[in-house]
Amino acid sequence: MQEILLLLIGTALVNNVVLVKFLGLCPFMGTSNKVDTAIGMGMATTFVMTLSSVLAWGIETFLLVPLDLAFLRTITFILVIAAVVQFTEMVVRKISPALYQTLGVYLPLITTNCAILGVALLNVQEGHTFVQSLLYGFGSAAGFTLILVIFAGLRERVALAEVPAAFEGAPIGFIVAGLLSLAFMGFAGISAK
C-alpha cells in the first residue's frame, strides 16, 4: 500500500511529466486558456495515458520480448497510442459533444503528445510490472491534469491582470509556467529515498 502511494505521489508531484520532465508542453500551453477545457483535456489524456501504458506493457511483455523484437518498440507503441486516441475521440464525441467541440484539434493531437509515448517508454526502461505500469501511467496523467488545471486557473487570472505590452499573451504564459516549474522543484526533497 505504501509502495503504491509512493509511486503515485512520486510520478504525480515529484517527477511531474510537464514541469520536471518537460514532456507534453504543447497541450500544456495550448489547452490551458480555460479551466473547463483544461479539465476535459486532462480527463481525456488520463484515459489515454493509463490505457496506453497498460497496453504498451502488455505488448512489450508478450510480443516484443518473446519474439526478440525490441527494435520495433517505438513504432508499435505509437500504433497502440494512435488506436487508443481514436477510441477516446469516439467516446468523447458520443458522451460529450460540447467537450468534443471545445477540445477540437487537441483531441487527435493527443496522439503526438510526447508525454504519452514518453511514459510508455519509461515504463519499459524502468522494468515496471503490470501494476506498476498502470500506476505509473495513471500517476503521470494525474500530475499532468493537476498542472494543466492549476496553470489554466493562473492564466485565467493573468488574463485580467495588467501585463506589459511586450509580455501579453503567450510570453507571460511561459513565464508563469517557469515559475510553476520552480515551485515544483520543491517536491524533489520528498522523493522516495
Partner: protein, 178 residues
C-alpha cells in the same frame, strides 16, 4: 524479419478491427440533412451569418433557428436552394437581389498594415507589411470582412467587373434549379 513484419501486421489488423467495432457501437447519429445543407453553403466560414462557420449555420438551418436567407455571400440562389431542400417557403422578394461583389483595394490609400490580409478566409489578398496589398478577384468570394478592418477605408466592395470573358446573356427568367 518475418516475425517483425508479421507481428506488426497482426497488431495493426487487430487494432483496426477493434476500432471498427467500437465505431459501430459508439456511432453518433448526425442528421444527414445537415451535411447536405452544408454542401449548399459557400463553405468559406466567413461568419457573416452570426454563426462560427458553415457547419454551425447548417445545423441552425435544419433546426429552424435560422432563415434560409441568412447567408449573405450565398445570396438569392443559395437561399432558394436551401428553402427547396428544407421544404419551406421563403419570401425571396425581401432578400434583395445582390449583385455579386468582390473586394477592391484603393492602392493609393493602402498603408500595408496587413489587417485585411489576416482577415481573408480565402487568401485572396496579397501583400507584405508596409507594402500595398491587392485583391485577386478570382479567389475573392465577397464576404466583406476586409472592409470592416481596414483602418484607412481603402477597401471597398465593388461589383464584379464585366469583361469579355465573364459577360453573358441575361437569363429570361431566373430559375432556381440546383
Amino acid at each position: 524479419m518475418l516475425a517483425a513484419v508479421g507481428s506488426l501486421a497482426v497488431l495493426g489488423a487487430t487494432l483496426g478491427t477493434l476500432l471498427g467495432i467500437a465505431a459501430r457501437y459508439l456511432r453518433v447519429d448526425e442528421n444527414p440533412l445537415e451535411a447536405e445543407i452544408e454542401a449548399l453553403l459557400p463553405g468559406s466560414q466567413c461568419g457573416q451569418c452570426g454563426y462560427a462557420g458553415c457547419k454551425q449555420a447548417a445545423s441552425a438551418l435544419v433546426s429552424g433557428e435560422a432563415k434560409p436567407t441568412m447567408c449573405p455571400p450565398g445570396g438569392r440562389e443559395t437561399a432558394a436552394a436551401i428553402a427547396a431542400k428544407l421544404g419551406v417557403t421563403v419570401d425571396l422578394s425581401g432578400a434583395e437581389e445582390m449583385e455579386p461583389e468582390i473586394a477592391f483595394i484603393n492602392e493609393d490609400i493602402c498603408i500595408g498594415c496587413m489587417r485585411c490580409f489576416q482577415e481573408c478566409t480565402t487568401d485572396a489578398i496579397v501583400g507584405a507589411p508596409k507594402q500595398m496589398h491587392t485583391v485577386i478577384g478570382e479567389v475573392c468570394h465577397g464576404c466583406g470582412k476586409c472592409v470592416e478592418v481596414c483602418p484607412t477605408e481603402a477597401v471597398e466592395m465593388r461589383p464584379v467587373p464585366v469583361t469579355l470573358a465573364s459577360w453573358h446573356w441575361h437569363k429570361p427568367v431566373s430559375r432556381m434549379v440546383h
